[in-house]
């Protein structure tokens, strides 16, 4: 994985010093709160319901045991001993004191981490496939490009005060595991007929009040031109994106109002007129960055398949975990393991300091120290030998991290909602907890299923993309929940449609249960929920839901 060189180290140190001085000036009254706010936001510090919340970047979700231990230490020393992994491959700490933040950032810098631009109207953390580098269906490792983008988008002099936040996602596999189409800019790594690497560039995706999926604005941008082309996209957006209305300020609204074709033409004209050489990305530079991501030296002694099968046959719970939580690795002796942060009845995405330490230990012993954070709010050990899986599973089980539910109905994506977030219009965590408890027994029968919950229209819980999405809203002082059906992330991304009037909080679990029953009754073999929904439409679901409500 990428290691900071002297430049990167000096940069984060300078950033910490700058921020320390900003906090000093704020505390001395030289900066008003209005002036300080965007500065702290550019370092990931929000003012929330109860305290400051610090959002720490895990660039493209890739980190390691030393970083994880540092995070555990920070949650113990400056917070309440746990953190929350978010849908942006970040970690949020909810109980932070302003005075402590410069020290926390200094601690992060010591392990090559930061909280730069995890908030504010600029580039956010670039996200990618949590299986990057090891997925069996990958064209090329996307992490070097994500790292190049991380650096390029950090304190960009021209684009640090955009109309609104700006999120970029990269995917380099047949299967899109990064929800690329819901991003302001999405990049699909492609190879042209000459075998050269480039990117299909998508623009104009985003959730929130107006959920829109992105459009292809250029089918192939050579990698040499990646940065200059993105600068052109950003320059068009910076000049013409709306700034009069926060809900219309994302690039998706600009793309929608101009039309994707016209927008693409504007970008193309800007790009052709720009100095493309100045920001050209030379092959040898990409190679140099990519060398940091070389795969580790695997032990390739063949796995004892008989023993492996025996363990699985003798332990149905292990077999189930294998089925749900492991994914095909480039090396046939290895597996990619997802550690569920969705134990039934707990807060989705939360992880205690002790669990963080354990995952760090396991990563050191079994996964070359590497860890990933997935946008589904789970953790990943990317290189585990298959003959170590049984032992790994037992240790995870013992620590409450062995839940075998990846991609299942209890693997709920859920934002913090009103329990923490000051923007929330309703609670989301208790809804997720209750649903998971209720659905756990049926989980196997249901199969692949995504429920996604947001506590307000900002849609941090991606509810629009859930097979079933749940949005908490406030109706005359009461928390009620709008249900959307048929959403999908990934290659077949789709925005769900609202089924009808919102449900009261105590009717949500029962209502979803009814919808699931309709699905189980009417699905044809192998059909996932969105497929069934597209085939039969909303009517049967609507009739069942509102007949009982």
């Amino acid at each position: 994985m990428y290691r900071y060189d002297d430049f990167d180290h000096r940069f984060v140190d300078e950033r910490v010093a700058q921020y320390r001085d900003q906090v000093r000036r704020r505390l001395a009254g030289q900066l008003t709160e209005d002036e300080f706010k965007p500065l702290r936001l550019m370092n990931g510090l929000y003012l929330q319901m109860h305290a400051y919340m610090l959002r720490i970047a895990i660039p493209y979700g890739a980190f390691d045991s030393a970083k994880m231990r540092k995070l555990a230490h920070i949650t113990r020393k400056y917070d309440r001993g746990y953190g929350h992994f978010t849908t942006r491959q970040n970690l949020q700490l909810n109980w932070i004191k302003l005075e402590d933040t410069p020290d926390i950032l200094a601690e992060l810098a010591s392990v090559e981490m930061h909280a730069i631009q995890t908030s504010g109207n600029s580039f956010r953390n670039t996200t990618t496939d949590p299986f990057a580098g090891v997925a069996h269906d990958e064209i090329e490792d996307p992490r070097p490009y994500a790292e190049i983008l991380r650096q390029w988008s950090t304190l960009h002099p021209e684009f640090s005060f955009l109309p609104r936040k700006f999120k970029i996602a990269v995917s380099a596999s047949t299967e899109d595991r990064a929800a690329v189409k819901m991003h302001d800019v999405g990049l699909y790594l492609r190879r042209n007929d000459k075998g050269e690497v480039g990117f299909e560039v998508m623009a104009g995706g985003g959730l929130g009040r107006t959920p829109l999926l992105s459009h292809t604005i250029k089918p192939f941008v050579a990698r040499r031109d990646l940065l200059s082309y993105l600068e052109a996209v950003l320059r068009v957006y910076n000049q013409y994106g709306r700034r009069d209305n926060i809900y219309k300020a994302r690039i998706k609204i600009l793309v929608q109002s101009l039309g994707a074709k016209k927008f693409a033409e504007e970008v193309e004209a800007e790009w052709l007129a720009s100095d493309r050489e100045a920001a050209a990305l030379p092959d040898n530079y990409v190679r140099e960055i990519a060398s940091a991501f070389a795969l580790p030296a695997y032990d390739n002694t063949p796995v004892d398949e008989a023993a492996f099968k025996r363990d699985a046959a003798a332990n149905p719970a292990f077999a189930r975990w294998l089925r749900r939580n492991t994914f095909g690795h480039k090396s046939s002796n290895h597996a990619v393991v997802t550690i569920s942060l969705k134990p039934v009845g707990e807060t989705p995405g939360d992880c205690s300091a002790d669990q963080m330490d354990l995952v760090a230990d396991l990563a050191d012993e079994l996964s070359f120290g590497e860890i990933r954070a997935a946008y589904e709010q789970n953790l990943v050990l990317p290189h585990v030998r298959r003959d170590a899986l049984f032992g790994l599973w037992k240790r995870l089980e013992a620590a409450g991290l062995g839940t075998a539910n990846i991609g299942q109905i209890t693997d709920i994506i859920c934002c913090p909602g009103m329990d923490y977030c000051s923007l929330a219009t309703a609670r989301s965590i208790p809804i997720a907890q209750d649903l998971a408890r209720h659905m756990a027994a049926k989980e196997e029968a249901i199969g692949t299923f995504n429920i996604k919950i947001s506590g307000c229209i900002n849609a941090c819980g991606h509810h629009h993309l859930g097979h079933i999405g749940i949005l908490g809203v406030d109706k005359n002082g009461e928390e009620v929940y709008q249900i959307t059906l048929g959403g999908d992330a990934g290659n077949n991304a789709a925005v769900g449609t609202i089924i009808g009037p919102a449900l009261k909080s105590d009717a949500v679990t029962g209502g979803i249960d009814t919808l699931i029953d309709v699905y189980l009754k009417l699905r044809q073999d192998g059909e996932r929920f969105p497929d069934t929904y597209r085939r039969i439409g909303a009517k049967p679901f609507k009739e069942a839901l509102y007949a009982v409500a």
Binding site: Q18, D21, E35, Q151, R235, Q239, S274
Partner: protein, 165 residues
Amino acid sequence: MLLLEDGTLREDGWHHVADDEAIPASGDITVSFTRWKEVGATLNGRSGKLGLRLDNTTAPADVAPDLSHFQLIVLNFPKFTDGRAYSQARLLRTRHGYKGELRAGGNVLRDQLLFMRRCGFNSFIVGERAVKEDWAKAFGEFDVFYQTAQDGRPWVMRQRLNAAP
């Protein structure tokens, strides 16, 4: 109003003529783009330097043919969070080859100065709260940059490539 130019604070010697104000016969003045379009040609004979004030919705390309008339261009930040003028500045400097003084006006704060300078601004209307040392320090907070920009400072990709064996 104080003006900071490459680390020094001084008074602004320019007279910024309002659109409904008569144009003085001498002295250094700036006019809005609207005024320039109305009376541009008549300003050529007067003594004193000429500057242009652009609002942040005017495309630099629209001004490009006239740039040779101006020794100063003032770009506006109505709020410091409104970053359109950063792009205007870069376009004026690169695409349109403007070499004169490029000034940031409006809500110009210390913590944005470095960004502005990197985009090609070389003077700043900074308001009365400016403390000289503090503002000057704003330029020196970083010496590592991840992007190529207008101030000609070395940037990391180039530095790495140059350092490579």
